[in-house]
Symmetry: C4
Subunit: 236 residues, 4 copies
């Protein structure tokens, strides 16, 4: 794979637009109480259509350790799909390698989000998938939210765990064991929506199970709800 | 039923006033933490007094998939009581058919609200009514908050489940199984109040039951509290 | 008891200052998540020093059914200590009779607050006192937060239940069974602080007990913490 | 130990800068829902490099009983490391003696934070350490969050309990039994971050354990995560 060492002129406008979107979308994470302090990160792929295999694509992500008060489009950093810094004054988020792995191996994915949102992470700590007992889960996730393997930061094992788990599921969210959720989408906004909905269903199913057992939804109803929401209706 | 295909001149002012109210009332849903992302919807009936059977009434509702930051009176859409779009640039909420069914079959209802608020939806996922163990529940709901049937979006089964459940209860809220609460009121504001109070009692009774069994309130006390609040006092 | 039918000129300035304080203090109730919608009320006594038995004192309270967005000093109402309206355009809160009873029977009390805050109300629904297992509880409450009787609105039974329970306790908060907390203080601000701290300890002890049994604090430590906080230090 | 009775001219600029930082950092406590009312306090050490044993160092802290709306740099008070007031119009926080003890006995510590944050205090009330079952806990705390002894305010026992517990742990947070968390850092900002993360992990592990047993993380993985985060990467 040969990757750029600076943003090509042909991608300048697309990169700048992605920086604006990614910076603005970070505000959704504290707004919906998915993060504390500087935790959490949103990225978006910038496609280089001149290289159809995607190897020249870039990603825009939050730098490491930045307060949510200081997130501006200018502060965002640009990396190649190996996670190497291409543009920016600060180090990329320490989770950049996992985002980059997802973009390399899932060409349809245009946005990735990672948080340690409380309820999703609580299921992840038990290594337990969230059962599909809500119609909004059937709509958005098409079934349970699956658990990915325990993986240590520093090599490709987190990225590989995300990709392998998501490939065998309709869910755009995976709960990495003892760690927290990663979500994907066609763009950064869709991945943020999946992160918000993942925490919402994690919390609601948790609360429901605290006082008994939620009623299951039959598989054919899950299928028809998912099909309608994704294909017919498109949005709530 | 013959319904208008555009807003009649005689209803212009009433429709515009309803759009203002409905847009403003949507802000109450995130304010009281009943919704995330674009979930939830408020509607209000606009009566056409020239057609006393109500068949020419309209409803004003939020369009589908709009961020709470972008809700303005102008963005609201108008539908007839079959749920068909009469005025507006966007598709009506995918829950419009359920709202419309309620307006068609409950002529006294002037406002409907639907959310997936966490605690109410958690009771709904277990298919369990909320017992009346708080004086504020007796005031507002006159007894338990009932559960409606499991119903799939796409035909009248959600609307029918709401109406049949509410007709046999004093409660202005119903918990649709595996789905979430629908609430009604004499206008949109009253339905929003019922949605706020439904989540409040769902949360408080949940928390109470986590550490034991709440004490019941005798039926005659529930009746006298409800009667006083609804008929004598009117509001808190 | 002979009571004024309008605000006496000698109390004009004191009443107006109390209206300002009471209006401003209402903002603390949603700020600390003690209330939803229009629930909750704060009152303050205005002493008429010319009538030392207190029978000419007044109280300032929120009117019934007012949104927290619309609370201004001018909107506050003035009642005598029988709860009868002395000044104001709207009906006083339906809880005014309970506030008035407390002022009539506890001359040292200058402020009263009532909420349905979630965790305190959850203990109240079980009729269970909150055990004193936190040093901040020993500081503020000097022991457990006690439970008052089940009482129906409409006569003096709520006020009497509050007063009888608080007289046999050091706590400035009482949990009225199936209803919610009432708190008192030397002025409205102190009663609001007690309402905030009551919910805080109700929540923290609830959470602690969810996973086991909190460790008790020995009675002599409770006494010395309470004594120091109330008499030596005065505030945190 | 001989300590200053006023701020030495040589420390003026450093003290004023610390007042600005400490005042601003207090806003993080309500922002992340660690405190209610006037609870909680942040302090920072001001080093007097002319006295290398640290005995002339000062600390900047919030005064007692100040509303979070009224916290300004000017309102902050300065104490010596015995906790005696050196500069300021109000009494220092009643927890100043505990902060001062930590600074006297842990020369590497530059910031201290104390809160009664709900979930951390709930673990403290049971006298139970928080097990290390999240990768973010391994990163930040390098193992469990330990419990310190029950100690009464008024002498050095709180400070001594904090220091003895933290010396035998990698954690920058200690849960003082029946009381609440104290956290330390190289400066006030780092101690605030530790307070925020302590509540976050206390909440997440609590929620996880409500429905089962979180999976343990092997000691060698805890060690490698902690080492990477503290030494290699430095921040998220």
């Amino acid at each position: 794979m040969s990757t750029p060492t600076e943003v090509p002129a042909a991608l300048r406008a697309a990169v700048d637009a992605a920086k604006e979107r990614v910076a603005a979308l970070h505000a959704e994470l504290p707004r919906w109480e998915l993060v504390v302090w500087t935790a959490g990160n949103v990225s978006e792929r910038v496609r280089d259509e001149r290289t159809p295999d995607g190897s020249a694509d870039l990603l825009v992500i939050k730098p490491s350790g930045v307060s949510y008060d200081d997130i501006t489009a200018d502060a965002m950093v640009v990396c190649d799909l190996d996670g190497a810094l291409v543009e920016g004054d600060r180090s990329p988020s320490s989770d950049t390698a996992a985002h980059a792995y997802v973009y390399r191996h899932m060409p349809e994915v245009g946005g990735v989000v990672h948080t340690h949102s409380t309820y999703a992470t609580a299921w992840a700590a038990r290594g337990e998938e969230i059962p599909c007992v809500l119609t909004m889960m059937a709509d958005e996730f098409g079934g349970p939210v699956p658990v990915g393997p325990f993986a240590i930061i520093g090599d490709d094992s987190i990225g590989r765990g995300i990709v392998e788990t998501l490939r065998s599921s309709r869910s755009p969210a995976v709960l990495m064991q003892n760690h927290g959720p990663f979500t994907i989408g066609k763009d950064a906004r869709a991945a943020v929506k999946a992160a918000v909905m993942c925490e919402e269903v994690a919390r609601t199913v948790h609360v429901s199970r605290q006082l008994g057992e939620p009623l299951p939804i039959a598989a054919e109803h899950v299928d028809s709800l998912y099909d309608r929401y994704q294909n017919v209706y498109g949005q709530h």
